[in-house]
Structures are given as structure tokens and as C-alpha cells.
């Protein structure tokens, strides 16, 4: 069993969102970077659980980014995983990133490729589907449960107002969200061990991006809250009906 887990670096959830260079770039000054929570909590931990059940399993991590991604990938290795590959490129275009991952995945002959459901910065939710199409593999998006059988997987995925159970033969690509696994904290042994795990840096293959970010905007500020007295909640219902017209 060979598993590839896609890891992305994102700003911390409390990072101040501001833009530089005439609103064309995310302002990175003072930003603390983390592993994208969906990649860490669900995709990576699920892979670790599979390896715990089958010690012969091998987990590789892959990230597309420059050298400032190394602390993030080392942190991921501290949680689990046998080795990591960093593709030395900087891009926000999903097709470019997916093409780099697919190139690695093609050589690696993985049985399973896990991604998080989306990154919390660009919210694309696209890498998994693109990698699957590039490799001509089945893709299950937004999975909440994953159970491995002999040569297939039983996966529950979210649909409008419910869930669907799928049975799919390996290899395949899965995007993971809440329910797949529980967040873990790296322990001292993991952190020490991560230092000596291989981190391979490879150069990107030539790919033309499909999209480019022209600019960013911040949403307009709220006008301020209108407070209603707690003794008169009926007034809130009247305001929602007559003024906001939402009920």
C-alpha cells in the first residue's frame, strides 16, 4: 500500500488578511504559516491510521512550494509519513499545482492519493479532481469516512442534505473533510524523528498556468450592529420582517 498525501502551506486561521503591491499580493509580513487544516487533520491523519493498521504501508507527502515550505512539511513529517517531496515552484494556479503533483504521482504508482477538501486561503477545492483527471483515476470529493477493503475502499461522501456510500476499486483520489479522522498533536519522538526523514526537492515540469490573480479586494465594512433590548425581543422579529425583510 502506497499513499500520497498532498500538503499545502496556509496562513494561520487568525492571520490578518491584508494585501500589498496595489492589492495584487497577499501581505505576508508577520503572518504565521500552518499546514492547511484539512490536509493535516483529515488527509494526513487518515493516512497515518491506515499505516497503523498495515505497518507495511508507505506514506509520502508532497507539497508544491519554495524553501519556506520546509518547516511545514517537517511538521507534517513529525505527525507521520515516511518521506516528503517538495516541488520547487511557487504558484496559485490549481492546474499548475495539480500538474506538478500528477507528475510525481505517475512515477510513484500510489494506491491512494489524499488531499484536503480545500485550502483555507484560496478555497479552490480543485487539486484532487484535477490530479484524478490527469491520471485518469476515480475521484471521491468531500469524503467524511474511509474504510479500506481488500482491493477497494468504501467511502462516505457528503451530498446535499445527506450522504452517499461509494465502493471504488484502488487506485483513486480522495478529498478529505471533517469526520475522516481526528486531529492529532505531534509528540517529541515524532518531532525528533522528522529531522532525519528524507525531504526530496525536485524541480517543476514546464506547465502553462490557466489562471492568474489580477487583484484582491476586502469586503466593505459592516455598518454596525443595531442592538435590541432583551426585554423586548418581539422588536427584533419586527425589524427582521419589516426592515431587513428576511423573514
Amino acid at each position: 500500500m502506497k499513499i500520497l498525501v498532498c500538503i499545502s502551506k496556509t496562513p494561520d486561521t487568525t492571520a490578518k488578511i491584508a494585501f500589498a503591491d496595489n492589492n495584487t499580493k497577499f501581505a505576508v509580513d508577520g503572518v504565521v504559516w500552518i499546514i492547511n487544516p484539512f490536509d493535516e487533520w483529515y488527509a494526513l491523519v487518515k493516512a497515518i491510521e491506515l499505516k497503523e493498521a498495515d505497518p507495511a504501508a508507505v506514506i509520502h507527502l508532497v507539497t508544491v512550494g519554495l524553501a519556506d515550505n520546509d518547516p511545514i512539511i517537517r511538521k507534517a513529517l513529525a505527525l507521520g509519513g515516511d518521506e516528503a517531496i517538495r516541488i520547487n515552484a511557487d504558484s496559485h494556479d490549481s492546474y499548475y499545482i495539480a500538474s506538478q503533483i500528477a507528475a510525481i504521482a505517475k512515477d510513484g504508482k500510489y494506491d491512494l492519493i489524499f488531499t484536503g477538501k480545500e485550502t483555507i486561503d484560496y478555497n479552490g477545492s480543485s487539486i484532487g479532481g484535477m490530479v484524478a483527471e490527469l491520471l485518469d483515476l476515480p475521484f471521491i470529493s468531500l469524503a467524511t469516512k474511509f474504510t479500506l477493503e481488500a482491493t477497494s475502499a468504501i467511502i462516505i461522501r457528503e451530498i446535499e442534505g445527506g450522504e452517499e456510500t461509494d465502493n471504488v476499486a484502488l487506485p483513486l483520489v480522495v478529498s478529505c473533510q471533517k469526520g475522516m479522522a481526528e486531529q492529532r498533536i505531534p509528540n517529541m519522538k515524532g518531532i525528533m524523528g522528522a529531522r532525519s526523514k528524507p525531504l526530496k526537492v525536485v524541480e517543476p515540469t514546464a506547465v502553462e498556468a490557466f489562471t492568474s490573480i489580477a487583484s484582491f479586494d476586502l469586503p466593505p465594512a459592516k455598518a454596525g450592529v443595531k442592538l435590541v433590548n432583551a426585554d423586548n425581543p418581539e422588536e427584533l422579529v419586527r425589524l427582521l420582517h419589516e426592515v431587513a425583510k428576511v423573514i
Partner: protein, 321 residues
């Protein structure tokens, strides 16, 4: 040249978010001086001619029982073939569960740039630039698509739908339907509840409600308003409510017309997933709760005292005894 809209269906009904995608695609067609056509896959789907009300002139159908379940590989191939056959320059999806599975594949197959989670019509005066949510709703990015064919997934509830009475022509698209590699063995739906991702009104509870036994304060109001229910992350983590109700940066991001938050502090990660809601109401006993800064209306008070009175007032408004 034309605009192609994918209409997502379940149990024979077109999803609400797909009607939004249809109206959005029709508006792009108008802007670009072309026509909007739609494609729907599966058997036994209700009144397709009525999709004309959303500005679509033609609906292509592929009637096949095998297509009643979505398989991203099979669907992608059919939609790609249809887009190529009709010379579509823009393909529109809802950014819903199925849209997120199909659109990225189609992007690769058609070598077409994808913007997912669009919140406004594209700027087409110079180039093709689409505004989308980034940083979980804390900002927008204006993304240029630089390929000949463009793919957009529209965020639910972010485009106002205008309808007029019109009939769409319904024609069969002769597609090759591959065997699905994904076998659907079960679907499980909570009948009668409004899906959170599509809801116009959402009533949400946090840790301030103290325990699952008090959730009737949320569910009673939701039922009266025809709303979906949601919760903060710790509430889902402790198991008071199911995981799919968790909204926020690491749960579902939503943008209903009304978000009603009860006993939720308004942490930055919670706000990230809900701050695109048009109207936000906060009930919290702590006047310093950060949520009040993001709210339109609020009551500083104890939810256990305030909510029964609000529920009574809504009953009166709705004429429910």
C-alpha cells in the same frame, strides 16, 4: 459560441443552486451576446422546459438510468463532449458538492481555466476576470482566466435570480455513457430538512446553549422559518450536533440571507465561514462577544430567556398557534 450550464439533479429534481447557475449563465450569455444552453444527466427529471424561465434557451438531456448517480469521470466526459459539440466558451456549475467533483476534472479535460466559488458576473470588457471568495470569505480575489474556454463554479446564494416566463427547447444529446468505476451502494438523506448549503435562512447554535437537550431553541425557530440548522465547531466536536452542521473556516462556508447565531462567541474561524451572510443576528449574554462586531442586529441577553419569546413572536407573525 455559447454558454453551457450543468444542471445538477437529485431524485429527478433540479437543485436550487443549479437554477442560480442557470440564471448566472444566462446573464453571462446576455453580456457576451450569445445564448445559454444547459445539460442535465439522468432519467425521469421534472419539467425541463421550465428551465427557460431562467433564461436558458435549450436543454440537452442524456436519459440513462446509470446517470442517476453522479460519477465524476463519466459525467466529465459527457459534459466535455457536449461542450465541444456546441462550441461552448464558458461552462457554468454550482459550487456545490457535485460541482466540486466535476468542474476540476473538466478543467483538465478541456484545457479550460477554472474559477471556483464565483460571487459575481465576470468582467469581460478586457479579458475575462471572475470575482471569487478567498481566505474563507475574508476577502475576494479577481481571477483572470487566460484560456479559450472558461469554467466557473458559482457559490450558492450569491447571485440574485430573476425569472421571466419562457420555454426552453428540450433535446436529447447522443452521448457515449461509460461504465462508472464508482459503485453507489447507499444514499442517506434527512427527509424534510432544508440542506444547509442551499438554505436562505440558517439558525445556528454554539456552546452557550449548554447541551444538546436545549437544541429545541434552535430547531423550533428553524422549523418556523423554513431554515437549515448549523452549529459552531466545538458543538460538532463534542457530538451535540452532527459534523455536517459545522460552519466556519474548517467546516462549511455559507452565505444565507439570514444567519441567526445563538450562544456563539464569534471567533475569527467561525466568522470566516458565515460573514458573507446578508443579515446576521446575534443572541449572546456577553456584550463583549466579538460576534456583535460582525452583526447587523443583536440582543445582549440570556438565550434561555430571549429565544422562547422570539419563537412566540415568529409564531404570531406566521399565524401559527
Amino acid at each position: 459560441m455559447s454558454i453551457l450550464i450543468f444542471l445538477d439533479q437529485a431524485d429527478g429534481h433540479i437543485k436550487k443552486s443549479s437554477f442560480e447557475a442557470a440564471a448566472y449563465g444566462a446573464a453571462i450569455a446576455l453580456q457576451m451576446g450569445t445564448t445559454a444552453e444547459a445539460i442535465v444527466l439522468g432519467n425521469g427529471i421534472d419539467d425541463l422546459a421550465a428551465v427557460g424561465n431562467y433564461g436558458v434557451t435549450k436543454v440537452h438531456t442524456v436519459k440513462n438510468d446509470a446517470l442517476n448517480h453522479m460519477d465524476a469521470q463519466v459525467f466529465t466526459k459527457i459534459i466535455a463532449d457536449a461542450a465541444t459539440a456546441m462550441g461552448a466558451t464558458v461552462v457554468v456549475f454550482s459550487n456545490n458538492f457535485n460541482g466540486k467533483a466535476i468542474a476540476p476534472r473538466l478543467s483538465v479535460r478541456l484545457k479550460a481555466g477554472l474559477v471556483s466559488g464565483a460571487v459575481a458576473l465576470p468582467e469581460t470588457a478586457a479579458g475575462f476576470v471572475v470575482k471569487k471568495n478567498v481566505f474563507s470569505g475574508k476577502a475576494f480575489a479577481n481571477v483572470a482566466i487566460n484560456t479559450a474556454i472558461k469554467i466557473i463554479t458559482l457559490n450558492p446564494n450569491s447571485f440574485s435570480v430573476i425569472t421571466s416566463v419562457a420555454t426552453a427547447e428540450v433535446t436529447e444529446f447522443a452521448a457515449t455513457v461509460d461504465a462508472a468505476k464508482v459503485k453507489v451502494t447507499n444514499t442517506n438523506k434527512t427527509i424534510g430538512e432544508v440542506p444547509l448549503s442551499e438554505a436562505k435562512i440558517v439558525v445556528s447554535g454554539g456552546r452557550g446553549l449548554k447541551g444538546p437537550e436545549n437544541w429545541s431553541l434552535v430547531t423550533d425557530l428553524a422549523k418556523l422559518l423554513g431554515a437549515a440548522t448549523a452549529c459552531s465547531r466545538p458543538v460538532a466536536d463534542i457530538g451535540w450536533r452532527p459534523h455536517h452542521e459545522h460552519v466556519g473556516q474548517t467546516g462549511l462556508a455559507i452565505a444565507p440571507n439570514l444567519y441567526f447565531a445563538i450562544g456563539i462567541s464569534g471567533a475569527i474561524q467561525h466568522l470566516a465561514g458565515v460573514n458573507r451572510s446578508k443579515t446576521i443576528v446575534v443572541i449572546n449574554k456577553d456584550p463583549e462577544a466579538p460576534f456583535f462586531k460582525a452583526a447587523d442586529y443583536g440582543i445582549v441577553g440570556d438565550a434561555f430567556e430571549v429565544m422562547p419569546k422570539i419563537i412566540d413572536a415568529v409564531k404570531k407573525l406566521k399565524g401559527v398557534a
